[in-house]
C-alpha cells in the first residue's frame, strides 16, 4: 500500500498503486475497488481507488494524427503539456485547456474539464469523438455519440467511474500562432466584474481573477482577462509563431509552514496583484499561451505553499439567474474570514456535455483555503448557499462535500448510476470519491 493524495494533498489515504505497461495488464489490474489515475491533478479523492489505483501515465503514445482535419487518436495517459509542445509548433492546440497543462487526456475527459472558453465553446468532452473504455466487468468497448452513447456521455465527466479510459479520438484546433491577444479590464466591484464578463461573452476566452480579501465597497473587485488567438500578423517582428514552453524555474522545494499564509500576507498579495493588473488594464497586448492559460504552471509544486496539511479548493457554479446575489454573499463570508488565497477565479460557464459534467449556464467561483481550523464547517455553510441557489460543486476539485450537497447539485445522478451499473454490475470500479458520494453503503 502507498499513501496517495490529490493535488490538494488532502486527504492522504492508503491505496495499492499499480503502473501497468500494457492494456492487458490494465485489465488484470482491475479488482474490487479500482479507479484509474492520470497525472494526479484532481485536487481531492477522485483519482484514488477505494483499494487500488491504476496509474495511466505510462500510456503516452499518439496512435495517429491527420493534419488535414486535426483529428488525433491517442492513449489516455498523454499529457496536454505534451500535446501542446508537440503539436503547437505544427499549428494545432487542444480546443479546451484547464488552468494547468499537466493533466492527462483521460483525466481531462473523466472530469470534462473546462477552460476559459467554456461560455462559448464548451468543455473538453465536446471535442472528443470516441473513447476506448475498459469497463468494470472486463469488456473493452469503443464508445461515441453514435455507438454506446449512454456509456459515452456517462464517461465524459464521469470521474472515471464507468471504467478505465484507454484511448481517445479527439479534434485539435488549428491555430496560426501560439500567442494570445490579451485585453485586461479592471472592475472595481462585483457588479462591474459581472458586467465585464457578460460583455466578454463574445470573446473566445474570458476569466476574472477576483480579490477575495477586498470588502465593503471593493467587494468582488476583479481583473478580467479576455483573449483571442493571435494571427501571424499580430506578432512583433522576429517572434517565433510558436513560443517555447519553459520548464518552471521557480519551484516550492519544501512545505511552507502553515503560518506563511495569513491574513496579512494574503491581503498584501491581493492588493499588489490588483494594483499591478489594473495598471495594465485598458489596452491589449500579445502574450504567450503559456502564461495566459497556465499562470501557475510556472511555479512547480505550488501546492506546497499551503503547508503539509494541504489545501482545499472550493469550486461552485451558480445558475445565471440567482448568481449575483449568491456570489455576493459567498464573497462576503470569504472576505470576512480573510484566509482564502491567491487563486480566486470567477468565470462564466455554458452547458455541460456529459451526464455528470460540472458546468451549467451561470458563474463559477473557485477559491483556495488552507486545511486548518474550522474550514470544513465554513465550507459546509457556503455549500448551503450554493445548493439553495441550485448550484453544484466541481468533483475534480472536491475532497469534502456532503452527499446531500452532491445529490442536490446533480439531478442526473440516478441516470448516471443506472448506466454505471450496467457497465459494472459487480461494482469493481470505485474510488475514494465514489465511496464518499456515490456508492451504496
Amino acid at each position: 500500500m502507498t499513501l496517495v493524495s490529490g493535488w490538494g494533498r488532502f486527504p492522504v489515504v492508503d491505496s495499492d498503486v499499480l503502473r501497468p505497461r500494457s492494456f492487458a495488464a490494465v485489465g488484470e489490474a482491475v479488482s474490487a475497488g479500482t479507479v484509474a489515475r492520470g497525472n494526479g491533478r484532481a485536487y481531492g479523492d477522485a483519482a484514488i481507488g477505494a483499494t487500488r489505483t491504476v496509474t495511466m501515465t505510462g500510456f503516452d503514445r499518439v496512435r495517429s494524427f491527420d493534419p488535414a482535419t486535426g483529428r488525433i487518436r491517442l492513449e489516455a495517459g498523454v499529457l496536454l503539456s505534451d500535446l501542446i509542445d508537440t503539436f503547437g509548433s505544427r499549428g494545432f492546440l487542444p480546443f479546451v485547456v484547464p488552468g494547468t497543462r499537466f493533466v492527462s487526456v483521460g483525466g481531462a475527459i473523466a472530469a470534462d474539464v473546462h477552460g476559459k472558453n467554456h461560455h462559448c465553446e464548451g468543455g473538453f468532452g465536446r471535442y472528443v469523438d470516441s473513447l476506448l473504455l475498459r469497463t468494470g466487468q472486463g469488456e473493452v468497448i469503443e464508445v461515441s455519440r453514435e455507438q454506446n452513447s449512454d456509456a459515452f456521455f456517462a464517461t465524459v465527466g464521469g470521474m472515471g467511474l464507468t471504467g478505465i479510459i484507454l484511448e481517445a479520438t479527439m479534434r485539435l484546433r488549428r491555430v496560426e500562432t501560439g500567442w494570445i491577444r490579451e485585453r485586461v479590464i479592471s472592475a472595481s466591484d462585483l457588479d462591474a466584474a459581472m458586467r465585464a464578463l457578460e460583455a466578454g461573452d463574445a470573446a473566445t476566452y474570458s476569466v476574472a481573477w477576483i480579490d477575495c480579501v477586498a470588502r465593503g465597497r471593493d467587494l468582488g473587485r476583479s481583473l478580467i482577462y479576455l483573449g483571442e488567438h493571435a494571427g501571424r500578423g499580430e506578432l512583433a517582428g522576429g517572434a517565433d509563431a510558436f513560443p517555447v514552453g519553459k520548464e518552471s524555474r521557480l519551484s516550492v522545494p519544501v512545505d511552507l509552514p502553515s503560518m506563511a499564509l495569513n491574513r496579512t500576507s494574503v491581503r498584501a498579495f491581493n492588493e499588489l496583484y490588483y494594483r499591478m493588473g489594473a495598471r495594465r488594464a485598458g489596452g491589449s497586448h500579445v502574450v504567450s499561451l503559456y502564461p495566459y492559460f497556465f499562470p501557475l504552471d510556472s511555479v512547480g509544486a505550488w501546492n506546497r505553499i499551503y503547508g503539509k496539511r494541504g489545501f482545499l479548493q472550493h469550486q461552485c457554479v451558480i445558475p445565471q439567474a440567482g448568481a449575483r446575489a449568491v456570489l455576493g454573499e459567498i464573497l462576503d463570508c470569504v472576505a470576512r474570514r480573510g484566509d482564502a488565497s491567491f487563486l480566486a477565479v470567477l468565470k462564466k460557464l455554458g452547458q455541460g456535455d456529459g451526464i455528470l459534467s460540472f458546468p451549467l449556464p451561470g458563474y463559477t467561483l473557485a477559491l483556495d483555503f488552507p486545511v486548518k481550523g474550522d474550514i470544513l464547517n465554513f465550507l459546509d455553510e457556503i455549500d448551503r448557499l450554493v445548493v439553495a441557489a441550485g448550484g453544484r460543486l466541481y468533483l475534480a476539485k472536491d475532497a469534502r462535500q456532503s452527499r446531500a450537497t452532491f445529490t442536490a447539485g446533480y439531478p442526473a445522478l440516478q441516470r448516471f448510476n443506472a448506466i454505471r451499473k450496467s457497465l459494472d454490475p459487480a461494482g469493481n470500479i470505485r474510488s475514494k470519491l465514489s465511496q464518499r458520494l456515490f456508492d451504496e453503503v
Binding site: 503514445r61 496512435r63 495517429s64 494524427f65 493534419p67 508537440t86 505544427r90
Partner: protein, 246 residues
C-alpha cells in the same frame, strides 16, 4: 530516404530508447528503432510518425546475437548519422552470484554486445569521416558495489570501451558519447526503491542524449548530482568502501 539527418536507436522499446527517439524526432531526425521484437516497436513507430511527420524504420536486433551484427549493419538501408545504444540487462545480482548463465547474460548484454555493435558502426563512421555514437552506460560502472557488481563490472567495461573508442575516433571526425543516467523511473526500475532527488524521468535522459550529440559532450551524468555522488564513492578508500552494504 529524405535529406534529414537520421538516428538509429538500439533498444528502441525501452523507456529511455523511446525517450531518445522522441527527442531526436522532435529535432527533425528520421528514426530507426531496433529491438528483439519488431512487432512491439510498431506502436512507438506510429507515435513518432504521428507526432513529428518523420520517417521511421524498424529493424530486428538482438544484442546477444553477435554473429548477426555485420549483417545487421550492412542490411540497413543507409548508414545513420547517429547510433544510440540503450540496450542492457539489469538482471538480479543475487541470482548472478551463483547462476553463471544469468551472470553471462548480464555481462554480454551490457558489455560485449553494445561494445561490439558500436565498434562496428565506428568503423563505418570512420570510413565516412562523420557521425556520432552514444553508449548508455551507468554510474554503476564507476565502482563495483556489493549490491550490483556483476551489472556494474559490465558497465565499467563498456565505459572503458567507449572512452578508448572516443580517443581513437575523434581523430577521424567521429564523436563518441558516454551517458551515465543514474536512477531513472522506467520499466527496468519498476518496484526498486529509488532516491527521489537522484531520480529522473526517461524524457530527461532522452533530451540529455540529444544535447550531448549536438554539443559534442564526451561524458554525460544526466543529473549533475550523480557526478558528485560517484566522485565521493570513487574516492572512498577500499578499506572503508568494502564495509558499506549498498
Amino acid at each position: 530516404m529524405t535529406s534529414r539527418k537520421s538516428v538509429l536507436v538500439l533498444g528502441g522499446s525501452s523507456d529511455i530508447g523511446r525517450a531518445a527517439a522522441r527527442a531526436f524526432a522532435k529535432a527533425g531526425y528520421d528514426v530507426g528503432l531496433a529491438g528483439r521484437d519488431v512487432a512491439t516497436l510498431e506502436p512507438d513507430a506510429a507515435d513518432l510518425r504521428a507526432r513529428y511527420a518523420i520517417d521511421v524504420g524498424l529493424y530486428k536486433f538482438d544484442v546477444l546475437d553477435t554473429a548477426a551484427f555485420a549483417g545487421f549493419v550492412s542490411g540497413l538501408p543507409a548508414l545513420p548519422d547517429v547510433v544510440v545504444s540503450i540496450v542492457g540487462l539489469l538482471g538480479v545480482q543475487e541470482n548472478a552470484e551463483s547462476d553463471l548463465a544469468h551472470a553471462t547474460a548480464i555481462m554480454r548484454s551490457n558489455y560485449e554486445g553494445p561494445s561490439l555493435i558500436l565498434g562496428l558502426f565506428a568503423e563505418k563512421f570512420l570510413g565516412r569521416g562523420s557521425g556520432a555514437l552514444v553508449g548508455v552506460s551507468s554510474v554503476a560502472g564507476d565502482r563495483g558495489r556489493a549490491s550490483n557488481y556483476v551489472y556494474g563490472s559490465a558497465k565499467a567495461g563498456f565505459s572503458a570501451f567507449l572512452s578508448g573508442l572516443r580517443a581513437r575516433a575523434s581523430r577521424g571526425g567521429v564523436h563518441v558519447v558516454t551517458v551515465k543516467p543514474g536512477f531513472v523511473r522506467t520499466k527496468m526500475t519498476d518496484g526498486m526503491k529509488l532516491i527521489g532527488p537522484l531520480t529522473v524521468e526517461a524524457p530527461v535522459v532522452g533530451d540529455a542524449i540529444l544535447r550531448a550529440v549536438e554539443n559534442k559532450t564526451d561524458v554525460v551524468y544526466v543529473s549533475g548530482k550523480w557526478r558528485l555522488v560517484m566522485l565521493i564513492i570513487k574516492t572512498l578508500p577500499e578499506a572503508v568502501f568494502k564495509k558499506l552494504k549498498f
